[in-house]
Amino acid sequence: MTHPLIDHQRPTLLWERLQPRWARGQARSAAEAAPTRLVWRYASPQAFYPLAGRLVPWFAVAAALLSAAGLGLGLLVAPTDATQGDAYRIIFVHVPAAWISMVAYLAMGFWSALGLVFNTRLSFLMARALAPTGALMAFLCLWTGALWGKPTWGAWWVWDARLTSMLLLFLLYLGVMALQAAIDDPARGDRAGALLTLVGVVNVPVIYGSVQWWNTLHQGASVSFTRAPTIATPMLLGLLLAAAGFWAYAIAVVLARVRRLIAEREHGAAWLPALSPSAP
């Protein structure tokens, strides 16, 4: 008996090893007997591939429209800041990038945990697909931060707690990607990357706390985000629209990347449409 959700050649799961022996057989048979509910149906790469294909254009269009609206509002309509002049306008790229880079790491942790517990292949692919986008956003955040810092603080880089922890987050992304790239066996690469992501998720609060402690001891409050207590409505609206646009971009890119990863893994499967004209 084969089932589309169960990888019958998979190794024994970490989760199953932790269970007592008497529970193992039950868990397996229950999973096999479960009807394909909506949540689980799309855990199958075969079902998810066309769904992702249908969603990508929608998110891409939404990304273009929302980013254009947000950036237009932010760059053209929003008033000039009283203390920072026009330099603050990079906030419309900086804050969405920072937001996505942090949430993308948590999302990677979520998919990694799901993959390690249930051994759903798609979860690992989602985690893999999120990493480059998260790293890109962390880099964008650092870069725009440097561009923002030069006119406002007078320095491209200061060892502020926020900057330093974002740099470390960027390095954590690079570490996960490097580990996945170094392992040839896809299954081992998936699991190793997932475990490293989870170790990182546990560590991120500790790192953030320690860096903040370090910063307060060394620099005090000499450098901080001096923001006006209230933010003008067009600014806030532009920021929210730009953030929504960046989110749509991230989702579109991640879904497209997952499709490529599925195509790579399931190469030769009968249900997969031929990707190149030379394919039979």
Binding site: L171, G175, R188, G200, N203, I207, S210, W214
Partner: protein
């Protein structure tokens, strides 16, 4: 080498086909494990045997552990050459330099943690042993610390003299290294297990592990700076102790999961 007793108990073990392939008879063929002098069901005896074995191996290959130590001394000696010999400046940078050098030395020694076990097949016996794998890996991390971390702690007062650190700051430095270096070994064991047998594994290992070690570095070097600045090192040392407890509980577990991923 012959102190470790690994007992294969097929009735209780996991049901991986490849692991099941190693029968007790096959395991017994291995000359290193013929003696079974650790009483069954005594986790502490097993841990002691494992640590004893690793220390014995380290003693027979003294050059490996000594190399790490010499690297530590060498790196710290490079800094005065690069930044100049003014005592005031050296005193200011000493905590950071000594801690970064300790972190790099500990990282440099990490690839050795499982490499030999993997090469001679001992690793599979550890995976099959009756005791829980995280417990055994705690022993591996302990042995690793005893051979690489503890010598750094003992050597640090001498190097602190070179940097003209005052006596109380030197004591705090040694205390912070004593509390911090075990965490480096524990967290490092996760990275060593993940990168086991990979191409370019040593560089990758450093890339993975160093960002995770930042808290230890911050509180370790911070303790010495706080003591020198008159704030007192108590809070930093308590945080280092907390990190050590945190790592002792979680790191062997994560390393065990990583080792199973790397060997399946």
């Amino acid at each position: 080498m012959n102190g470790l007793a690994v007992t294969v108990d097929p009735g209780l073990r996991r049901d991986d086909a490849q692991l099941k392939a190693v029968t007790p008879a096959q395991a017994g063929v291995h000359p290193h494990h013929e003696r079974d002098d650790a009483p069954a069901g005594q986790p502490l005896a097993t841990l002691a045997a494992l640590v004893h074995r690793d220390l014995l191996l380290a003693w027979r290959r003294r050059a490996d552990a000594l190399g790490t130590l010499v690297f530590f001394v060498l790196v710290t000696a490079l800094f005065p050459l690069a930044v100049g010999p003014e005592p005031a400046q050296l005193r200011a940078i000493a905590p950071g330099v000594l801690w970064v050098a300790a972190l790099l030395s500990a990282t440099l020694a990490l690839p050795r943690l499982f490499a030999q076990e993997r090469a001679d097949g001992t690793l599979e016996h550890l995976l099959l042993a009756r005791e829980p794998l995280p417990w055994l890996l705690l022993g591996k991390a302990l042995a690793h610390w005893l051979t690489t971390g503890l010598p750094l702690v003992l050597l640090s007062p001498v190097l602190a003299l070179q940097f003209d650190l005052p006596a109380d700051a030197t004591a705090v430095l040694a205390a912070s290294l004593l509390l911090g270096t075990p965490t480096l070994s524990l967290v490092g064991s996760v990275g060593a297990a993940l990168t086991l047998g990979l191409r370019n594994g040593a560089v990758l290992l450093a890339l993975l592990v160093l960002p995770l070690q930042v808290p230890v570095l911050v509180f370790g070097a911070g303790a010495v700076l706080a003591e020198a600045g008159g704030l007192g090192a108590r809070a930093h040392l308590l945080m280092l102790g907390g990190l050590l407890c945190f790592a002792t509980v979680l790191a062997p577990w994560a390393a065990a999961a990583a080792l199973r991923i790397s060997t399946e």
